[in-house]
Symmetry: C2
Subunit: 281 residues, 2 copies
């Protein structure tokens, strides 16, 4: 798995570097800030999940790679805006100054905006030679827009900074947690599965797409539970660390069972689920 | 024209009210902030241009209306982020407290993000019963993403806050001006023309789409020149008010000439071009 991850990270990093505008393009400062905020460190879990989901249904890699990179850019946008003084006010990110610390606050706002905008352009096929699958691409855009909107990632943020301060019930906590990071993780798997099966030479096995969708939802929730465990926050405050750890383990096993219709082609996704459970944030 | 504008504004406002999530939906604060930042005052020039361009090629109104509203939401997102303390630091917008003044700075950032995200969802057809025209919808999304990215609206902002402070040449000024507001205005006309001609029962006249695209570019530039005239800024500093006013008038006449292939169906767009030239900001 370690080699698999390294190879995929290199593929994603190389593609991101090619897709993003050059630092020489006017206006240079924003392109510099975009590249600074995306390239370098990062596990690239979202694009790797999208690629793995596409592989699991024998999709063509070239058809999913730009969309997979768009998912990483969306993750980067959310981090850049999260770090702003008005939000979490973080001076450092991945061991270097955060975007607004390095480029100023105005550019912090605009860089996040630019990454988000660029991502939707990529998903719609800006700069890609491939056309076709228009219906499936639109469906992928709708998936992503819903996953990162106010009933998804942004909703999770809002609940975190404001309305979440009132002590939430376990059910509300689950929803907020699912929204915060789970929704984009789940969308990454679905986008990979959608674009992959549209470009595959044969139809996916019966139940494969539904299984992948359920797998995505489960690993998305595990991802957030592991975050909570490391921070001692969120679900941990309500249930205690032991219960949360047990739930994350059960969900991971259940996610892996959803891969059954894929047979051997689902193995990398099973490995990724274990990786998400055991990762250090 | 006054009646025409009033009717269209009412149509757009009514549709925006229905499309945006309700204030009762959790998390309430962001939905409240989104509605606050969009509904109420506003000329709705972008959606009205999109509707008029669709009408000019006999498009079906229901097919273009959600996309037209998305253009207004994008405009609203840009205003919400522009008003932030890190950007223009404006406490008031359209006679009431700006979004971050009313809801706090964190929600100011998130509301802009949410409006942008919601717009791309609308363009991709979230919540709309109409499916089909997938290729044209994707093209519209690409148009918009490019118009509001770093080689468009965001690029214009960056040049304004940073790199634009060095005294630009007339050619650079033109580009920055075209980017700042011109690109989204031009995209509004193109999106209306694209979606309209895809839903029309007969093909548009030869040269109609190209004429509309050129019309959009020209009125977009006029829009920004009129802004500059009111602020005594931008192009006015380089050329003087009289030269800028003359250029805006020439461009408007030239934009109207581009409508020739449309015949009588182009008349509302001609009226809108005059309105954009003569409007008070």
């Amino acid at each position: 798995l370690k080699t698999y991850l390294k190879q995929r990270q290199a593929l994603v990093n190389g593609t991101l570097g090619k897709l993003l505008p050059s630092r020489r393009d006017f206006p240079a400062s924003i392109h510099d800030a975009m590249r600074y905020s995306v390239l370098g460190e990062g596990k690239r879990i979202r694009p790797i999940l999208a690629l793995a989901a596409s592989d699991a249904v024998r999709g063509k890699r070239a058809r999913v790679l730009p969309a997979a990179c768009a998912l990483e850019l969306i993750h980067a946008y959310s981090l850049v805006h999260d770090d702003l003084p008005a939000m979490d006010d973080d001076d450092f990110r991945r061991g270097k100054p955060s975007c607004h610390k390095k480029f100023g606050e105005a550019l912090g706002v605009l860089t996040g905006d630019a990454l988000l905008t660029f991502s939707f352009g990529l998903l719609a096929g800006v700069g890609s030679r491939v056309n076709g699958d228009a219906g499936v691409r639109l469906e992928a855009i709708r998936e992503v827009a819903e996953a990162i909107g106010t009933f998804g990632m942004i909703g999770g943020q809002v609940a975190d900074v404001g309305e979440g301060r009132r002590r939430p019930t376990r059910k509300q906590m689950e929803r907020i947690n699912n929204w915060k990071t789970g929704a984009l993780i789940a969308a990454s798997v679905r986008v990979g599965a959608l674009l992959g099966s549209a470009s595959a030479s044969r139809k996916p096995a019966p139940g494969a797409l539904r299984g992948l969708a359920r797998y995505g939802e489960k690993v998305g929730l595990v991802f957030q539970l592991v975050d909570d465990l490391q921070d001692g926050d969120g679900a941990v405050r309500l249930e205690g660390a032991q219960a949360v750890r047990r739930r994350a383990q059960q969900l991971t096993r259940s996610a892996i069972r959803e891969l059954a219709p894929l047979g051997k082609a689902g193995e990398p996704l099973a490995g990724l689920a274990e990786f998400i459970l055991n990762r250090k944030v």
